[in-house]
C-alpha cells in the first residue's frame, strides 16, 4: 500500500466506522424483530397488533411475556459472548483463545450443572446458577493459568492446554450428570445452548450483570489495545501488564459465566465473533469492543430467529409437533461452514 492511499484510508476511516456501527445497530434491531416475529403460535400481523396496543390476552401474553424476553436475552447473551471472546483474544494475545478453549465455558457449565445436580440451585433460583457458573468459570480459567505456567506466551501451547482442561472439566460434568441423572433432562440445555423458555426473570438477572461487566470491560479498552501490541510495548507505555491482564480475564470470565448460566454453551460464538469484529473494525479495542458486542448480539439473535424458523419449517415438513431446533445447533452449524470455507481457502493458497 502506498503512502497516499494510506492517508486517504486514514481520512475515510472514522466515517466508515460510524457507518459500520449504524449498520450493525440496524442489523441487531432487525435480528430482534425477526426473533419477535418468528415462532409458530402467532403470525407477524398478530405481533404488530399487540405492539400497537391491541390483541387478545393470549397473543399479548405470547408477545410480551414469552417472545420479547427471549429476544432480549438472546441479544444480551450474544453481546456478552462476543465481548468475552474479544477480551480473551486480546489479553492472551492468542487468536485461538475463545471462551470454549480456555476452560471458561466448560467450567461454567460444570458449575451450573453441579449446583443444579447437588440441589443448591435450580430454575427457581437462577441467581444461584449464575454464581455457580461464575465460580466454575473462574476455576476453569485458573486451572489453565496454573497449567500453562511459563509457557503462557506460546499461543499454540496454551490452546493445547485449554483443550485438555476443557476435556477434564467435561469429564467431571459427565460424572456429575451420571451421579444425579434425574437432572439430565433439565440440564441438557446448558450443554446444547438454547433460548427456549427464557422469561423476564432471566432477563432481569442477565442485563444488570452484563451491563456492569461490559462497562468494566470498556474501561479496560485502552490498556487492552496496548497489550495486543506486546508486553514490552505496553509496559513502555505505562501499563501494568500483569494487573491489566488479570482485570481483563476477570471481566471475560464474568461475562461468559453470565451468558452461559442463562443460555448455555453456545458453540463457536465466542471464538468467531472477535475475528469478524477485528476484520471489520481494525485493531483499536475502543471501537472493536462495542462492535464485537453488536456483532455477537446479531449473530445469536439472528441464529435464534433462524432456529425458530427452521424448526417451524421442519415441523411442518415432517408433521411432528415436538421438533425444535436449539440455537446452539445453528451457531455450531454456522461455525462448521466457516471452518470449511477457511479450509478451502488454505488449500487454494498452496
Amino acid at each position: 500500500m502506498t503512502g497516499a492511499t494510506q492517508a486517504a484510508a486514514a481520512r475515510r476511516a472514522p466515517r466508515r466506522t460510524a457507518r459500520l456501527f449504524v449498520l450493525l445497530a440496524l442489523l441487531a434491531l432487525a435480528a430482534g424483530c425477526a426473533a419477535l416475529v418468528a415462532g409458530r403460535a402467532l403470525p407477524a400481523s398478530g405481533v404488530w397488533e399487540v405492539l400497537r396496543g391491541g390483541g387478545d390476552p393470549t397473543s399479548r401474553h405470547i408477545v410480551l411475556n414469552l417472545r420479547l424476553p427471549r429476544a432480549l436475552v438472546a441479544l444480551v447473551a450474544g453481546a456478552s459472548l462476543g465481548l468475552a471472546g474479544t477480551v480473551l483474544q486480546s489479553a492472551l494475545r492468542n487468536p485461538l483463545a475463545g471462551p470454549e478453549v480456555t476452560g471458561v465455558t466448560p467450567g461454567a457449565v460444570l458449575g451450573a450443572v453441579a449446583a443444579t445436580g447437588l440441589g443448591f440451585a435450580g430454575w427457581h433460583s437462577p441467581a444461584a446458577v449464575v454464581v455457580a457458573a461464575g465460580l466454575g468459570g473462574f476455576a476453569g480459567a485458573g486451572l489453565l493459568w496454573l497449567l500453562a505456567g511459563r509457557e503462557r506466551g506460546d499461543p499454540a501451547q496454551t490452546a493445547v492446554y485449554g483443550v485438555l482442561v476443557s476435556a477434564v472439566l467435561s469429564g467431571l460434568t459427565a460424572v456429575v450428570l451420571l451421579v444425579a441423572p434425574g437432572e439430565l433432562g433439565s440440564v441438557v440445555q446448558w450443554l446444547v445452548g438454547s433460548t427456549e423458555g427464557r422469561v423476564w426473570p432471566h432477563w432481569r438477572l442477565l442485563w444488570p450483570w452484563a451491563a456492569v461487566w461490559a462497562a468494566a470491560t470498556y474501561a479496560l479498552a485502552a490498556p487492552l489495545t496496548l497489550l495486543r501490541c506486546g508486553d514490552e510495548q505496553a509496559a513502555a507505555a505505562g501499563v501494568h501488564t500483569g494487573r491489566a491482564r488479570i482485570a481483563a480475564l476477570v471481566c471475560a470470565v464474568a461475562l461468559t459465566a453470565g451468558a452461559v448460566s442463562v443460555v448455555g454453551a453456545l458453540g463457536f460464538v465466542g471464538l468467531l465473533v472477535p475475528h469478524l469484529a477485528f476484520a471489520l473494525l481494525g485493531a483499536d479495542l475502543r471501537t472493536v469492543l462495542p462492535g464485537a458486542a453488536l456483532l455477537g448480539a446479531v449473530v445469536v439473535c439472528g441464529a435464534d430467529a433462524g432456529a425458530q424458523g427452521l424448526s417451524q419449517g421442519l415441523a411442518h415438513a415432517l408433521d411432528s409437533d415436538r421438533l425444535s431446533v436449539p440455537v446452539g445447533a445453528v451457531t455450531t452449524c454456522a461455525g462448521a461452514v466457516l471452518l470449511l470455507i477457511v479450509a478451502r481457502r488454505r488449500v487454494d493458497d498452496r
Binding site: Q89, R93, N94, P95, L96, L147, D154, A156, A159, V160, Y161, V163, L164, A167, V168, S170, G171, L172, A174, V175, L177, L178, V179, P181, L184, G185, V188, V192, G193, S194, T225, R228, C229, G230, G267, F268, L271, L272, H275, F278, A279, A283, D284, R322, L323, S324, V325, P326, A329, T332, A336, V337, L338, L339, L340, V342, A343, R346, V347, R350
Partner: protein, 392 residues
C-alpha cells in the same frame, strides 16, 4: 573405572529392550486379573481357573460378562491407540485425534437417530447404522478435504464435519426424552457395560482386514512424517499414501466406536505414551506400543468405571478423560523439559536433528507448531496477528 556420568540409572542385568515388554506384559496381566476377579462376586486369583472352566453362577459371570468385556476393552483400546498414531503421523500433527475425523460424531448420530425418532428397525440393522454413520462421517471428511491434499486441510475439514454432525446430534438431544437422553449420553461418553461375546466377534472381520493393512502401512508412515517434499523425493506418492493412512484410521475407529462409543482421549494419549517409551524408534516401532498403551489405558479405565460407584456403572470415557488427561499433561510437560525432547518430534524437527542447528531447530519448531495447531483458529484472519495492531 567408574560409570559414565550421563548414565541415567544403574545398569541392571536386564536391558531395557527386554525390560519394557516384560513390564508391559506384567501390567496387562495385572489389569486382566483385576478385571476378572474384582466385582460381585469377588474371586481370589486362585479360584479363577476353576471359574473359567467350571459351571455355575460364578463361572457364568466370569466367562459371559467379565471376559468379553475385558477382551473388548483390550481390542478397542488397541484399535484406538493404533489409529491415533496413524493419524498423528500421517497428518504430522501431535493434536490429531480420532474425534477430529468426524467418525465418532457420525457413529453417534447413527445410534441416536433411530432411538430418538422412534423408528422401528430390525435388530440386525442397528449396529450397522452406527457403522454406517461412522463411515459416512469419515468419508465425508475425506471427500471435503480433497482426499488428503494437505494435512492442515484434512484437520480443519475434519473439525468442520465433526461440528456439523454435532449440531445435528444436539437437535436430537433436545428432542429426546429422559430415558433416550441417558442412553445417548452414556453412549457418547463411551461405555463398555453389558457388552457380550457377540459384540466382540462382530469386530473380528474388521480386524482381519485392518491389521494386515496396518502392518503394510507402517513403513510408509515413517516416511510421511519427514514432510511432503522429502517423502516425494524418497519415492512415495504422498497423497495416495496419506489417503490410505486416513482410510485405515477410519477402518480402525469405525467398528470400535460403533460398539463402545467414542472413548475419549485414548487415541491422543496412547501415541504420546508410546513415543515416551520408545524415544529412538520410528513410526513402525511406535505402532505396537501405541496399541498396547491404548489397550492398557482402556482396560485400566474400565476398572474404576465398573467398580468406583458400584452398583452404578460409570462410562469408561469419563475415566479416560479424568485420569488420562492429567497423565497426558504430566507427560507433555516432562517431554518439554527433557533435554533432547525425544519422541515428541513431530516431523519439523527431523531436519535439524544434528549439530549446532539443534538449538535453532528448537526455537524454529514453535512457529511451525503454531501453523499446525492453527486449525483451532478457524477464522484466524490477519486480525489476530499482533503485528497488525502495531501497524494500525
Amino acid at each position: 573405572m567408574s560409570r559414565p556420568r550421563w548414565s541415567p540409572r544403574p545398569a541392571s542385568a536386564v536391558p531395557p529392550a527386554v525390560r519394557r515388554p516384560l513390564a508391559a506384559a506384567g501390567l496387562l496381566l495385572a489389569v486382566a486379573l483385576c478385571a476378572l476377579c474384582l466385582g460381585t462376586p469377588s474371586l481370589s486369583p486362585a479360584e479363577l481357573p476353576g471359574a473359567l472352566g467350571g459351571s455355575g453362577l460364578t463361572s457364568t459371570v466370569v466367562t459371559e460378562l467379565r471376559l468379553p468385556r475385558l477382551v473388548l476393552a483390550l481390542v478397542a483400546g488397541a484399535c484406538l491407540g493404533a489409529a491415533g498414531l496413524v493419524l498423528q503421523e500421517a497428518l504430522r500433527n501431535p493434536l490429531a485425534v480420532p474425534e477430529m475425523l468426524g467418525v465418532s460424531s457420525g457413529a453417534a448420530l447413527g445410534v441416536a437417530a433411530p432411538l430418538v425418532l422412534a423408528l422401528s428397525l430390525p435388530a440386525a440393522v442397528e449396529p450397522l447404522l452406527a457403522l454406517g454413520g461412522a463411515a459416512f462421517g469419515g468419508v465425508l471428511t475425506l471427500l471435503a478435504a480433497g482426499f488428503g491434499r494437505s494435512p492442515s486441510a484434512v484437520l480443519l475439514t475434519g473439525a468442520a464435519v465433526a461440528a456439523a454432525l454435532q449440531a445435528a446430534l444436539l437437535v436430537l438431544m433436545v428432542l429426546a426424552d429422559q430415558l433416550d437422553l441417558q442412553l445417548i449420553y452414556r453412549y457418547l461418553l463411551g461405555s463398555l457395560s453389558a457388552r457380550t461375546w457377540d459384540d466382540v466377534t462382530g469386530l473380528g472381520p474388521w480386524l482381519a482386514v485392518s491389521v494386515p493393512a496396518l502392518v503394510l502401512c507402517a513403513p510408509v508412515l515413517s516416511v510421511l512424517r519427514l514432510g511432503d517434499d522429502d517423502a516425494r523425493a524418497v519415492g512415495v506418492r504422498v497423497r495416495r499414501a496419506r489417503l490410505a493412512a486416513l482410510g485405515l484410521a477410519v477402518l480402525l475407529i469405525a467398528p470400535v466406536v460403533a460398539v463402545c462409543g467414542p472413548v475419549a482421549w485414548v487415541g491422543f494419549l496412547a501415541p504420546h505414551l508410546a513415543r515416551r517409551l520408545r524415544p529412538g524408534s520410528g513410526a513402525a516401532g511406535w505402532l505396537p506400543w501405541s496399541a498396547v498403551c491404548g489397550a492398557l489405558v482402556v482396560a485400566g479405565a474400565d476398572l474404576p468405571a465398573r467398580l468406583a460407584l458400584a452398583p452404578v456403572e460409570t462410562p469408561v470415557g469419563a475415566w479416560t478423560a479424568l485420569l488420562g488427561v492429567p497423565a497426558g499433561v504430566v507427560l507433555l510437560r516432562r517431554g518439554d523439559r527433557g533435554p533432547a525432547r525425544p519422541g515428541r518430534g513431530v516431523g519439523n524437527r527431523v531436519h535439524s536433528a544434528t549439530g549446532p542447528a539443534v538449538r535453532d531447530g528448537e526455537s524454529g519448531a514453535v512457529p511451525a507448531r503454531n501453523r499446525e495447531a492453527a486449525y483451532r483458529a478457524p477464522a484466524a484472519p490477519r486480525a489476530g496477528v499482533p503485528g497488525e495492531a502495531v501497524r494500525e
